[in-house]
């Protein structure tokens, strides 16, 4: 095969490469996906096949979204050698603002009647702005006033949890707006047809991106993968995307749910009306967040500066990077993502409650760390954090399904967190020693 790896770059002498090297798959990514599938298979056996049903995969997915959204932001925080302990509390303040806006403030103060079509959008926008402002304020204290992030966000954890409580007088707020709760998961899904459209477009976009990436490399005379490796990767990625869509599409809406309101599902009567959920809107939100955050990390100056600052803060400063403003931007981003996670979390419940997001900061940090983000800074990936969140969630719901008592669940999750980091350290040592 006349691939370009030999003709394009004379200095890169053709050498024997292993199967995985040719595919250029990140070994750590492979390990994480392997661990995830391992967990799924073990629980599937322990639950007599109840774990890997379309229904459970659907539930697992929507339960992961909120933590995964915040974990993508936590990656940037940890990469720059900071920490954010306030995300769960920030989430609660944002949902309190959004809950109060849509049930009390907008209807009573601004005279928008309940159910007005603008209410959910104004609410979400206000929530995101609240998150951004609080995040930016914390970032300012950390970046410009040099208070350690641990302290600022530990204070934030206590403050924002209770600012939310103060705003609502401790009451549960709801029911939330009908459109708003569509972002919760099961209440808002694309349905079979649009799920396939999204799945097929996503596959097409992924293949196109891989192909144009290859062409760009060829244009600059860089070595590229052999064609067979490229095709294998394309096949694997297409299978994953389309398989995921097929699974979600296989989860049929229970008959009793259809019977409640058949017209909602495009049927005259409940008789013989078979419909499936498809992709939840909340998952689309997560996918959009993942794409945007990955593009920021890999393709923008902002992302480059985040990683440079994490690798060597002094070098970043001497290269003319405004690391203090960078800190403000990062924490503002986390604030926005916490608010977005708050939209999903409160919409899933249909209510704002004061304990919403409690201990989420720990889940989010654990997800990022299990996903390979190094607390020493400079290293981390968005996809890793999302897989980390998935691993955490599947462990927890798997153990719940098996019937493990809650205290034991936490013991296992804690042990897995430490184990994951230990494996990561060992892996890095090996790789570092070789190169």
């Amino acid at each position: 095969m006349s691939d370009n790896s030999t003709t394009g770059s004379p200095h890169n002498a053709p050498q024997k490469r292993s199967f995985l090297q040719s595919l250029e798959v990140d070994l750590r990514l492979l390990g994480m996906i392997g661990a995830f599938f391992g967990i799924c298979i073990i629980f599937n056996i322990l639950t007599d096949g109840r774990f890997l049903t379309p229904r459970n995969i659907f539930n697992l997915t929507i339960q992961t979204v909120s933590v995964a959204i915040m974990a993508t932001g936590m990656v940037f925080v940890i990469v720059t050698r900071h920490i954010d302990l306030s995300v769960g509390a920030l989430l609660a303040t944002c949902t309190a603002v959004m809950g109060m806006l849509q049930t009390a403030w907008l209807p009573q103060v601004f005279g928008l009647e309940l159910g007005h079509p603008l209410i959910p959008w104004i609410t979400i926008l206000a929530g995101l702005i609240t998150g951004a402002l609080i995040g930016a304020a914390q970032g300012w204290l950390i970046g410009y006033q040099a208070i350690p992030a641990f302290i600022v966000t530990l204070g934030g954890l206590l403050i924002w949890r209770n600012v939310g409580w103060h705003m609502t007088d401790g009451a549960t707020i709801g029911p939330l707006d009908k459109t708003f709760i569509l972002f919760g998961g099961i209440n808002g899904t694309l349905g079979v047809f649009w799920s396939w459209i999204v799945g097929i477009s996503a596959t097409g976009a992924a293949l196109l991106a891989m192909w144009s990436g290859r062409n760009a490399k060829v244009k600059h005379g860089f070595p590229v993968k052999p064609v067979w490796a490229e095709i294998t990767m394309m096949a694997v990625i297409s299978t994953i995307i389309l398989g995921f869509v097929a699974t979600l599409n296989a989860y049929a809406v229970p008959e009793r749910v259809v019977a409640r309101n058949p017209s909602l599902y495009g049927c005259e009567t409940a008789e013989g009306c078979v419909v499936a959920y498809g992709i939840p809107y909340s998952v689309l939100v997560l996918i959009a967040v993942a794409i945007v955050m990955t593009v920021i990390a890999l393709r923008t100056r902002l992302g480059r500066y985040i990683f440079a600052t994490g690798g060597n803060p002094d070098a970043a400063e001497l290269s003319g990077i405004n690391t203090r403003l960078l800190t403000v931007k990062i924490f503002a981003m986390v604030g926005v993502l916490s608010a977005l996670a708050g939209v999903v979390a409160s919409a899933r419940l249909g209510y704002h409650t004061n304990d919403l997001g409690t201990l989420d900061e720990l889940r989010v940090i654990a997800a990022a760390v299990i996903g390979g983000t190094a607390l020493s800074g400079g290293i981390g990936t968005i996809y890793g954090a999302i897989i980390g969140a998935l691993i955490m969630q599947s462990l927890q719901s798997g153990m719940a399904m098996v019937g493990v008592d809650a205290p034991y669940q936490n013991i296992v999750v804690g042990a897995v967190l430490v184990l994951a980091v230990w494996i990561d350290i060992q892996y890095r040592k090996r790789v570092g020693a070789k190169s």
Binding site: F222, A308, N312, G320, I321
Partner: protein
Amino acid sequence: MNTPLVEMKNVSIAFGGVHAVDDVSIELHAGEVVGLLGHNGAGKSTLIKMLSGAYKMDSGEIWIEGNRATINSPRDSRSYKIETIYQTLALADNLDAASNLFLGRELTTPFGFVDDSRMEAETRKIMARLNPNFKKLKEPVAALSGGQRQSVAIARAVYFNAKILIMDEPTAALGVHETAMVAELIGELKKQGLGIFLISHDTREMMDLCDRVSVMKNGKMVGTERVEDVTEDDILSMIILGKNPKASS
């Protein structure tokens, strides 16, 4: 002589009562290498860090090509075509050579995204000139040897067409062969008309590379001499005694 490339006039900076640099003046001409010598803590690095924007001076003036310059940050310094190679190299270890070379000045596509392919291609070109043995373009610079890391730092200064180059201990971490390469490069850049400030502890090396040497002690300038006018012993006594034998005789 015509207008100096750089003129630092009566520059001072203090850190909590310690006068790290006290009323120092120094000038640098195009095509000239000026060496800064002195003990640890004499104020050499502090002096040039005011020129490179890492520190803000308390008093004094900086003139670049006859114009008063305001340098408050590394970015300001770069805008005057001043490039600095720090003793610590100031590299982000987790990024590859191209990302480090262009750090803070990334090439972007028309859509505003960083153009990694173009940056890598440019890095290949400049590395082929500076260090033909340099191959590890894809690896984080943490995986590189001392000399290779040094060449990344030098490439960063050379690529952006510096007029003024500051080199803080450029050969401290290098082997014999790599040191010779740096010396050769300094000669070449000098021919191209750059002005170079060189900091080193190695007096003999400085006598070979520099046109003039300035000696500092305890934050004060002891004296500046043309290398052909002094012996190595003169320089050493300036460093140790803090007195200029030429001036007193």
